[in-house]
């Protein structure tokens, strides 16, 4: 009797462990859930990449849902996702704002000339100050932000077609519904 109970318990523990390990195998440990989801975009004021004399701040982004894409010319994965961003910009589905992160102005500008510019505006975050406030730990990272400047979702790593179709686009459509 006891032997059977003990055996069952051990077997169930084993199954639970297997399930846990199986889950952990599929999960990418480098993805850290951002505590900023559901929180407003931090206050900031940064110069534009295109013009050092003009600044952009949080109030400039109010009013419509948008994507905030953190990128840099030194970031290889940014180049991977860039054609998709350019394509999305052409379709005019959502404003895409850029945050040029820890870069130099010249490098960033020539990078955009070379690969195309999908951004409405690009803020130039040379020191990574806004990056730090946004909890950025690697580029590219993309924030989906609602019309009240509240962060709804954060994509760490390049946006792929799959991420766009499965995650970002459905969330965006939800946000773009009137009265949302």
């Amino acid at each position: 009797m006891w032997r059977k109970v003990l055996f069952t318990v051990i077997f169930l523990c084993f199954l639970a462990l297997m399930a846990l390990f199986g889950y952990a195998l599929k999960r990418d440990p480098s993805l850290v859930t951002s505590p900023l989801i559901g929180k407003p975009v931090p206050d900031f004021s940064l110069p534009l990449l295109s013009d050092p004399n003009r600044t952009i701040g949080k109030p400039d982004l109010l009013g419509t849902p948008y994507l905030l894409n953190v990128w840099a010319s030194w970031c290889a994965a940014c180049r991977t996702e860039h054609p998709l961003l350019v394509q999305l910009a052409r379709q005019n589905l959502v404003p895409i704002h850029g945050l040029n992160y820890r870069d130099t102005r010249e490098d960033a500008q020539s990078w955009l000339e070379r690969y195309g510019n999908p951004y409405d505006v690009v803020a130039f975050d040379e020191k990574g100050a806004l990056g730090l406030d946004l909890g950025v730990y690697g580029a590219p990272e993309t924030f989906l932000v609602d019309r009240n400047n509240v962060i709804v979702y954060k994509q760490v790593g390049p946006i792929t077609e799959k991420v766009w179709v499965d995650v970002l686009y459905p969330k965006l459509v939800e946000l773009q519904k009137p009265g949302q």
Binding site: W2, L6, P29, S30, V32, T33, S34, P35, L36, R102, K127, G128, G131, L132, D133, L134, G135, Y137, G138
Partner: protein, 167 residues
């Protein structure tokens, strides 16, 4: 063979250079000696999210550099240790803390070892109890041996020795 050994001095110099590079954040000037201690303590408690098994004190990643700088600035501006920890956790989540707080979401992390010890002890206890129960009936002996033992005992009790009176 000799060629192999000529490489050693080069390697040693490279190693020395490497360790010199590791000191790149130790040249900070603190306005209080106590600040330096707090700084060193804090950067050893914060995880670098780029290289996740290193603290920001150990890591050479640019992000770690930024975070160390921010810790330094905050301390110099009079922030408490709690302020710095909260600042980091608000941006990067509890994952950035090597010493995570006790919250509903971290209960399992904190108590899993005790649960494991508990389950293990119960299992061990059950095993021991069961084994004792099993060995008790095994002490039964055949009728002839039992009779022989009683016979010997009887003889011992009859004999007025010191050992016998003790029993």
């Amino acid at each position: 063979m000799t060629r192999k050994f000529t490489k050693w001095p080069v390697l040693m110099v490279l190693l020395l250079l490497g360790s010199a590079g590791a000191q790149d954040h130790a040249v900070l000037e603190f306005s209080h000696p106590e600040y330096k201690e707090r700084y060193n303590n804090l950067i050893n408690q914060l995880r670098c999210l780029v290289c996740q098994n290193q603290t920001i004190a150990d890591s050479h990643a640019e992000l770690a550099l930024d975070l160390r700088k921010r810790v330094y600035e905050m301390i110099e501006q009079g922030a408490s240790d709690r302020d710095v920890i909260d600042f980091m956790a608000q941006r990067y989540g509890d994952f950035v803390l090597y010493n995570p707080p006790l919250k509903p979401s971290t209960m399992l992390l904190w108590f899993a070892p005790f649960i494991a010890i508990g389950v293990g002890s119960v299992a061990l206890l059950l095993y021991i109890v069961r084994r004792n129960r099993q060995t008790a009936p095994a002490a039964e002996v055949s009728e002839s041996i039992r009779r022989r033992v009683e016979e010997l005992r009887g003889r011992q009790q009859a004999r007025p020795s010191k050992q016998g009176s003790k029993q």
